[in-house]
Amino acid sequence: MRYGEKQKAALSFNIEKHIPLLFVLPCFIVLLSVSVFPFLYSLWLSFNKWELGIGQRSPTFAWLSNYARLFSDSRFLGSMENMAEVLVFGVGAQLLIGLGVALLLNRPFRGRSWVTTLFLLPMMICPVVVGCNWKMIYHYTYGPLNHILRLIGIGEGLNWLGSSDLALPSIIIADTWEWMPFMMIVLLAGLQSIPEELYEAAKVDGASRRQVFWYITLPSLKTIIIIAVLIRMMDTFKLFDLVALLTQGGPASASETISFYNYLTGFKFFNMGYAASLAYIQLAVIIIIASLFLRFLRKEEGE
């Protein structure tokens, strides 16, 4: 083989070797610009002071001052507390009700697919519409919920959105109504994947319905429950729309979630560095929760 042919062969070999990379390149560039760059940029921003509100044109490095400020910021601490309440009670209620409904729908009956579809409707509605509807439902004077409470003789109704004690629970109820169907459909799929033989064997052994639930159904659903709860927790951590529409975080800051406070900090007060640090704390908490769940999941799979 002549020298030129050798070169040609080497070149064509190299092109062939790198063609897959060329195909991946556009995707890589898009990923870099819309995901990796904003991620790194906002991380860098969280160590800077950049207050557009005061006309500061460019960021100045501020070490850990934004993160230090978090510990003395009562609004941030309050919003984290509210978030914990939403996670525990909101996601908890969604899991319990979703599981209950999934167990009911797992039994064969006429029109089951219709009923299942009806249960899914809240999840399909635009969150803004959900918020507007619940705002009307919760209205103290003209809302249907208080009207029903008055009809059945429960006082004058409840102050759903105007009291610090009930504002957050009201948001949790609306969120549960909207997202319980997600839990239901995931758990229903899980229930339908449990082999029938297990139930038959339990029946032969004379197991009661409670024993079947505790020793067959629930252990078989464990993995799927962990995944569903994890997805809902990550999603709930971003809870913003219902807060903005129902209470605007009020009364005072009684129903302020971390996402809503972050929005105020970034887009109302224009304190970009501090808003970035809030976002990273949010991310850190989600990562910790996710890793705990995944560790538990791995342990379960190992067993």
Binding site: T141, W160, G162, A167, G250
Partner: protein, 477 residues
């Protein structure tokens, strides 16, 4: 064949030229200006007069509507990024200091000489609080907002109710002139379901009053009291917050005193809820914006047509006279960004809307715009939504009286943060979580922090400039 094609081409070209030639804008430079404002009926005038703007000024408009609560951030983001995205902006006056102070808005003084804005016809509050920063004109008025006291004329004139009130409080029932009277009247009219009101049994509770309870505007309902009791936002010399002064605490205590006579969910009340409770006939009186008066005369929106009374917001007795100040929250002005490429064309459009078409735009039920020119108050016949011209006259006289006592929002940079910190603490006091003094001390502490972040000296200079302008216009003591 070639000849036929050529003839056809020439024919098409001639027809094209003919069409273009008949167009009025042919030969004139037509530019597209981008307008941003809060979406909905208040942008309608930009649509209505589009043919005139094209014909007269060679301007085509691209109108961007954004939700009411998001206008500030949309504008601020574009200003900071210096994108030059907008040519005309609807601005809420409380952000004028923020925007004009940072150099984002064009100074209009130069243009006023070429094409007047008839600012002498604009009520002083709207002119000096809304449009001027440091004595210079940075915007022209578009929507005049001032709070007024609306009450149920029929109930206040009911003989039984009048007698009952007099026996309970020892003076005649009338629209409350002072804040103490306001508490009395609210207390008197609060009724439970099953109680009698003007001879009729109520099926549902009736409330003495209500107020805007959400944290974006609640401070203005406290501010009416605060301002009439002699409160000011800052000490002019030191820029030390003065919201926790005696006036502030007394104002908050008075606000707290009416809470038992309001709907229980009053802290969740925004504009719509406050309007509805009054127009549905479920509250004796509310303090609200001028548009509620217009809606009160419309049978499609109101169950109390012909029963709407309008009075100055209450005040305090000072040297034998009632001294009241009415907050001017919200409002809208038209401003031109400093980086627009077509300042003169943009100015012509805003001048038209603020001068030429303004009376038609504020007197129609198709917009939510409210009167702001002295000439608007002198043309009650234009306000056709009222059942009679007399009703329109009473409405305009009431608005005018409140406007003459107008009190501004804090229009300095950071107003959003100042207002939020104050509102959160006002609500905590109303909920009983803190005492009035503690709540306002906490608010003042937060204000000090905000001022320090924004630069004490810079804020002080700007505030002093604003106050000097207001004082020169006779609007500040």
């Amino acid at each position: 064949m070639k000849g036929a094609v050529l003839k056809m081409f020439i024919g098409i070209a001639l027809v094209g030229c003919l069409i273009l030639g008949t167009s009025s804008s042919f030969g004139a430079e037509v530019v597209t200006l981008t307008v941003i404002g809060d979406a909905g009926h208040n942008l309608k005038p930009f649509e209505w007069y589009a043919p005139i703007f094209k014909e007269e000024f060679g301007v085509e408009l691209k109108v961007i509507g954004v939700p009411f609560g998001e206008l500030y951030e949309k504008e601020k983001i574009e200003f900071v990024a210096q994108t030059g995205a907008f040519d005309i902006c609807i601005v809420y006056p409380k952000y004028m200091g923020d925007f004009a102070g940072a150099g984002y808005l064009m100074n209009l003084d130069e243009y006023v000489g070429k094409l007047g804005t008839r600012m002498d016809d604009v009520a002083a509050g709207y002119r000096d609080f809304y449009c001027k920063v440091g004595g210079s004109l940075y915007a022209v008025p578009y929507d005049g907002d001032v709070l007024s006291l609306y009450y149920r004329k029929d109930l206040f004139e009911n003989a039984d109710e009048k007698a009952a009130f007099k026996s309970q409080f020892g003076y005649d029932l009338k629209a409350p002139a002072t804040w103490d009277e306001y508490v009395d009247v609210a207390k008197f009219f609060a009724r439970k379901a099953g109680d009698k009101l003007a001879g009729e049994t109520r099926k549902t509770p009736f409330y003495g009053t209500a107020f805007y309870g959400q944290r974006d505007q609640i401070y203005a309902w406290w501010g009416n009291r605060f301002a009439s009791m002699g409160g000011v936002y800052f000490d002019e010399e030191t820029m030390k917050p003065a919201v926790n002064s005696k006036a502030g605490v007394d104002a908050l205590e008075n606000m707290k005193a009416v809470v038992p006579y309001c709907p229980p969910d009053v802290l969740a009340y925004g504009y719509e809820e406050l309007k509805d409770i009054y127009l549905n006939g479920d509250a004796a009186m509310v303090i609200q914006w001028p548009c509620v008066g217009k809606k009160g005369g419309d049978p499609n929106q109101s169950k109390i047509v012909g029963k709407v009374g309008l009075a100055p917001v209450p005040g305090v007795m000072k040297a034998g006279k009632v001294y009241s100040r009415a907050m001017m929250p919200c409002g809208r002005v038209l401003a031109i960004p400093a980086d627009t490429k077509h300042p003169w064309k943009a100015y012509q459009v805003v001048q038209w809307l603020s001068v030429v078409s303004s009376c038609a735009d504020v007197s129609t039920a198709l917009t939510g715009l409210d009167p702001y020119r002295l000439s608007h108050f002198e043309t009650p016949e234009a306000f056709e939504m009222f059942p009679t011209a007399e009703d329109a006259r009473i409405y305009l006289a009431g608005i005018k009286a409140n406007m003459s006592n107008g009190y501004p929002e804090p229009p300095i940079p950071g107003s959003m943060e100042y207002i939020d910190a104050l509102a959160v603490n006002i609500i905590r006091a109303l909920e009983g979580e803190k005492s009035a003094q503690k709540a306002l001390d906490d608010a003042a502490k937060e204000w000090e922090g905000i001022t320090a972040r924004f630069g004490l000296e810079k804020q002080r200079k700007l505030y002093q400039g604003l106050v000097a302008g207001w004082r020169a216009a006779g609007l500040w003591e």
